[in-house]
Amino acid sequence: MKRTLLVCCGTGCLANGSEQVVQALENAINKMGVMGQIEVKAHIKRTGCNGFCENGPIVQILPDDISYYKVKPHDAQDILSALQENKVVERLLYKNENGERIKSKLENPFYKPQYKIALRNIGEIDPGNIEDYISRGGYEALTKALNMSGSEIIEQVELSGLRGRGGAGFPTGRKWRTAAGYDVFPKYVVCNGDEGDPGAFMDRSILEGDPHSVIEGMAICALAIGATEGFLYIRDEYGLALKNVNAALASALELGFLGKNIMGSGKALNLSVVRGGGAFVCGESTALMASIEGRVGEPRAKYIRSVQRGLWDCPTVLNNVETFANIPVIIRDGGPLYATLGTKTSSGTKVFALVGKVKRTGLVEVQMGATLRHLIFDIGGGIIDDRPFKAVQTGGPSGGCIPSAMLDLPVDFDTLTQYGAMMGSGGMIVMDDRDCMVEVARYYVKFLTEESCGKCTPCREGLRHMLDILTGICEGRGQDGDLELLEQLCQTIAESSLCALGKSAPNPVLTTLKYFRDEYEAHIHNKYCPAGVCSKLTTFVIEKNKCKSCGLCKKNCPVNAIRGEKGQAYEIDQRSCIACGSCRQACRFEAILAQGRAQK
């Protein structure tokens, strides 16, 4: 039996040393081959991100269906020996909540509830090998599309109900239909791979792990609207994505899926990569196009849309990476089948980057309409150390904070928006009782003051003033009227900013004001931070009777403010303490208490 060893080489696993694991496995195989044990023909593929990054490097063995986690180079010998004896290395298997070891990837509680379309090939194929992609049905959809008219292709996309995954959820079929309707040439197809939300890595994983799915999606779009030229705009920091996409473009060209004469059809498409400058605002459609044209990446007023006048004033379709990755499946299996997934108004699946205070973090793809509870508690396994859940920030800086009372809301384009948040592009940051919601709002506003292009007054000056107010509140200088002024600023910024960065910038502030107003009030009126985060308002003390004198707090204190020795309760020297909270995070016995300063 020929066995395949799949070693994940996504950015996360690479950082954890998967190159060395590949080396060690290769060495061990060579060594054993010399010893004459020829039944095991292990074969190593370099696969893209598996999405379960914190447990990497991940090694999957097919067809045995064994998945090993946190594999180190010195495990290579054990893995291969066990394989020869048809055994598994227990210690490398995933351990679930009940302490059971799980052999199959599909039985792993992180993967089991997932439904993969956009991530269908990730972790299963070598992104550097086009044959791998083809062997899993790749480029079948393009072949099919070449025998369809543009209008027929668009009809399938319309029937699928697919909506843009970049955040706004605009119906993809309608966008394509509009662009197809203009008789102005050339037309362009552009893929938005700028992904600047803090904490998001959905698009990066697709570009790294399955670049052909995006290229095929773009090629189908080009056929549908009549474009002959296209660009993939990819953030400059995404080194591996850039490398894999460039390699994939070259091999697609070589096999005739791109170029002057696509698969002998006489149709042409030239795709190239543009490196984004790394500014968050360059993900905004008009700024992105300005940047591709070589101008400053600043948005312009969108009273005329870019499907009509986009790149170089020509009709342009801009879609997100994940949107394009869905297209081949829709064309291959038909729009109506895709529409059966998810909810009525938000069909299909969505990829989320689940991070923060959740036990299992990583990339998750589920059908639209899954509840937040399902994502955070079933797939994510709940909150680290079983602390109380406080909020989840969805949609990045344009999204909002959703409280526990709303955990049963389905996640789709429309529901969260009704509550002031937004599904957005799929970032999902889980927070517990030790996260301060005023500080969270301040963090996002700070991020945006740096990322706003600075062109229009409400966004540039409004965010600056909001940051001043929020910083004041966090530092104990909050006063009556602050919250009302914040609300007025939010309204003005949301309505009168030039682009969607400014228009959505108030969301984190508005949602925290709406759902966690008592926290703001505690900061302003009692000069107290209930979560014990805002350092100017917090002191930490060690409760003598709970301290087991393990010394972990002392080890974690960055300024050496903790004294103590074995057998005695430790103590914090308040004069040198900077109230960073590292000790409280480190303590396993809940012995460190956050108190207000005013109460002292």
């Binding site: 400053v296 292009c453 600075g454 062109k455 229009c456 007054t457 600056r464 940051l467 009168s496």
Partner: protein
Amino acid sequence: MNIVIDGKSCTCEPGEFLLEVARRNGIYIPTLCNHEGLLGQGCCRVCIVEVVERGWSKTVVSCIYPVLNECEVHTNNEKIKQQRGIILRLLQKRAPQSEIIAALCKAYSAPALDKLNEKDGKCIICGLCVRACSTLGAGAIATVNRGITKEIAPPFNEPPADCIGCGSCARVCPTKAIEYHENETTRTVWEKTFTLVHCASCGAQMGTQEELNFAAEKAGTEPSTLCDACRKKQLALVMADVYSAT
């Protein structure tokens, strides 16, 4: 076509900017970054108005909003007044020394947001000066940084090497933020002093030598020593000579 602005019916061409239509009909909307020679800015946002179109209400900036459908426009209702007030207060925080902004704040009863930092000057970072300079071709100044640290600056924060002293930046600036001095013989802008050239015939001021050189280079001629009027006069004399000779 017809639209209704503040209750008044106004005729306009499809695609015309809302601000123009309003102005033609005697309806005042305050503006800062709008300049007829450099259209399409739309960044100061003081000219916001509410547009109600087929039952949908939206806030738009009138200086660059093309009228395409019948609509009802409110240039100064409570909502717009409040938001414009906030925008003016924010601009005042940025440019506390600007008289025009102070005057607008007063007109819209917009009190200062907090204690103004007088060091902050007059510039509202609308970018008109940069566009003026690059449109005429010199490209001596630029915006630097983004977000709240954005500012207008010559390269390296030194007097700009490419500046020809034409003063267009200072003239388009809505808040008079660019210092500009002129006497009989010199002109100073961006801390750079230029010698002014006078017409060899009538003595009228013709601008800086750098300006004349720049224009000549663009036209592929030698810098002129006569002002436009005298040059025309001279040309007429030459022509007269030519005709009388025939």
